[in-house]
């Protein structure tokens, strides 16, 4: 029973490589193809609802999560505000986005 309870937990914890952890809704996490893959299998991540992302530091991860929610919020709209990305972060973020498939 406890297993299935955990599985339907509405929140996921993402941990950055410098130790920060972010609680985000499962729905937001599902925007990312990579996270979706991790959560939909029998890997450890799906039972503990915690994903350690060794590749990302907290700054990057925060921005990625911002995008996950941005995507969730504006999925149905056309005239959406531009997603703001600091220019200096663009390259690193691209690597992260490539990894997370968002």
């Amino acid at each position: 029973m406890s297993d299935s309870d955990e599985e339907i937990s509405k929140y996921i914890t993402l941990v950055s490589n410098d130790g920060f952890s972010f609680q985000i809704s499962r729905e937001a996490a599902m925007v990312s193809g990579t996270l979706r893959g991790m959560l939909n299998t029998s890997f450890q991540e799906s039972s503990t609802n915690t994903i350690k992302l060794h590749e990302l530091d907290s700054l990057l991860l925060e921005k990625v999560i911002e995008y996950l929610y941005y995507n969730l919020k504006y999925k149905e709209f056309v005239d959406v505000p531009e997603f703001d990305i600091p220019t200096e972060m663009a390259l690193e973020l691209l690597v992260a986005a490539d990894f997370l498939d968002v």
Binding site: N71, D79, F83, L91, L94, V95, D98
Partner: protein, 594 residues
């Protein structure tokens, strides 16, 4: 009725009298139909109506008491008759039903009053009074029927068939709603625009991915980037393509994409990359195996000779528009050690590649070439040299001979010989614009010799007929089916042969182009619908086939479950009312234009 007489009075006043000079306020009031007479009449009307209402309430109460008394004896009919007699005339209540309802409950009185009011309003409108001044004069809100004073801020509107004003609170709501409508309309228009634009790019509109945002920022600031770093081959390629599309790929930015480990390199727009920068490609990417340079007008003879010396791993070379390279240099390049290694050579759009250059190419690598493209090469004008092709080429997988300088350069015999020598390996055959070809190459070339052919493109072959196509595709058992078939502008073809072709390849077809085949009729779609399914078909171009209508679209949508792109440019009978699957994008309908 009293109101009718008043109206007559009003009009008489408006029309007949002689007027002296008047102030702005006077003329405004007159324009709005406000005058002392109407104000007085309105006041009288109001008091009278209140009186009537009070009377009616009284009467109803009385009647209710009566009904209670009569309940045992009187029929319902009797009751309603009494009521309708007792009601005041000008309420315009004439239906028995309403009155009957009204006497059921005490609270119903209010509802009767409301209904009566609504009815009165309706009667007003139906009178069809063009003058309208008397309507304006009464200051009851056209919407909520509240009494109010008309000011310059009151909103005038036409509703329920008459012109009137809104009370301040309704005005406020109406204005707010109008703004909201305008805003949503703008939003909707933007949405339609974006969807239409995306449709033309053959895509469905969706929110940009985080990678798209990043790539955009990077390509906007590409001049400040020193090193792309480890962003993944796909992203690197994506940025490179976006820069080419934006025409901002130049000698400086192209350096970002050079990496010692690269094996494949493609620059789709080299028009701003100069000679010196092109020379850096072999030194930065020594392991390069595949090189694509599009619009490479800057590619200098020295560059090609340098490549011929340095790119020892090069196997695949695709050049579009290298018109600085002359015949001698082509020959030297093919004689070099790199030239001798090539297995794939694609060349388009240069007039300086001559017959001698082709002979040099065939001499050096002819027997090993697996891919060859010779497209729009106007320097290649010797029939004899074209006829050499079958003698050299033996292991072709991909062959494209398109848009030759003169149409008789590529004839049936040459293609039959070529196909006979290469047939076993041949997977792709593109003969666009070789309009000298006839049915013969289909029947005695492709049919017996091409078991593995998967892509066949015969654009603009106007001499091939139903006869040849039918013979090719009838019992063509050695070939398991084509994946990509392009018959656009083969104008002599009609239903019979195309049906045969589709029947033969129905299980394997992925892309199909039947553009401008005006011989296709509605019957073919019906026949397809009854007999054939296309499990893999994803993209169809059936533009400028006039017989295609909404029902044909519905048929395609049903018989090809994976179909995602259907182009119907120039088919004016296709409308947005066609009933098709939601995931099928139909491109080119008139109704979809912005």
């Amino acid at each position: 009725m009293p109101r009718r007489t008043r109206r007559q009075q009003n009009t008489a006043e408006d029309d007949g009298s002689v007027r002296g000079p008047s102030s702005a306020l006077t003329s405004f009031l007159r324009e709005q139909g406000i005058n002392a007479e109407s104000v007085r009449l309105r006041y009288e009307e109001n008091t009278r109506r209140e009186q009537e209402m009070a009377e009616m309430d009284e009467q109803l109460r009385q009647q209710q008491l009566d009904t209670v008394e009569e309940e045992g004896i009187g029929s319902t009919e009797g009751v309603s008759a009494t009521v309708s007699v007792g009601l005041p005339d000008n309420l315009g209540l004439d239906s028995d039903e309403e009155v009957y309802e009204g006497d059921e409950e005490d609270g119903e009185v209010v509802r009767i009053r409301e209904r009566a009011r609504a009815k009165r309003r309706k009667v007003d409108g139906e009178d069809g009074d063009l003058d309208g001044s008397h309507d304006v004069g009464k200051n009851y809100c056209i919407e909520c029927d509240k009494e109010f004073v008309v000011t310059v801020y009151s909103k005038k509107m036409e509703k329920y068939g008459r012109v009137g004003y809104l009370c301040p609170s309704c005005t406020k709501i109406a204005i707010r709603r109008e703004r909201l409508i305008k805003r949503t309309e703008i939003e909707a228009r933007k949405r339609r625009k974006k969807i239409a634009a995306a449709l033309l790019d053959k895509q469905a509109y969706s929110i940009p991915s985080l990678q798209d945002f990043c790539v955009k920022i990077i390509s906007d600031n590409i001049n400040d980037v020193d090193l792309l770093g480890d962003i993944g081959t796909n992203n690197r390629q994506k940025i490179c393509r976006i820069l080419a599309k934006k025409r901002s790929l130049d000698s400086k930015t192209m350096q970002l994409f050079l990496d010692p480990s690269m094996k494949e390199l493609e620059f789709w727009d080299c028009s701003k990359i100069d000679k010196a920068a092109l020379n850096t490609i072999p030194s930065y990417c020594p392991k390069l195996e595949s090189l694509t340079l599009n619009m490479c007008g800057h590619l200098h003879m020295d560059n090609l000779l340098y490549y011929g010396d340095k790119m020892t791993n090069l196997r695949y070379l695709n050049l579009n528009g290298p018109f600085l390279i002359n015949n001698d240099v082509w020959q030297d390049f093919f004689d070099s050690k790199v030239g001798k290694n090539l297995t794939a050579f694609h060349l388009r759009n240069t007039h300086r590649f001559t017959s001698d250059s082709l002979v040099a190419l065939l001499d050096n690598v002819g027997d090993r070439l697996e891919e060859l493209t010779l497209s729009r090469l106007d320097g290649l004008d010797s029939k004899l040299v074209y006829d050499l092709l079958p003698h050299y080429l033996h292991s072709m997988r991909h062959l494209e001979l398109s848009y030759p300088h003169k149409e008789d350069l590529v004839d049936d015999d040459m293609i039959v010989n070529l196909v006979a020598n290469n047939g076993e390996h041949l997977e792709t055959l593109i003969l666009d614009g070789c309009s000298y070809l006839t049915d013969q190459f289909l029947v005695s070339g492709i049919k017996p010799f091409c078991p593995n052919l998967t892509k066949l493109s015969l654009n603009q072959l106007d001499q091939i007929t139903d006869n040849g196509m039918t013979q090719l595709f009838t019992d063509w058992n050695i070939n398991g089916g084509l994946m990509d078939l392009n018959l656009s502008r083969c104008v002599s073809l009609t239903d019979a042969s195309i049906y045969k072709a589709l029947e033969h390849s129905s299980q394997t077809l992925v892309e199909l182009n039947l553009n401008s085949l005006s011989g296709i009729s509605r019957k073919m779609f019906l026949r397809l619908s009854r007999n054939i399914r296309f499990p893999l078909l994803t993209s169809v171009d059936i533009g400028f086939v006039r017989s295609v209508d909404d029902s044909a679209l519905a048929i395609w949508s049903r018989i090809a479950p994976r179909l995602s792109i259907l182009e119907v440019y120039g088919n004016s009978r296709c409308t947005d009312k066609a009933i098709v699957r939601a995931d099928l994008r139909i491109i080119g309908r008139e109704a979809d234009s912005i």
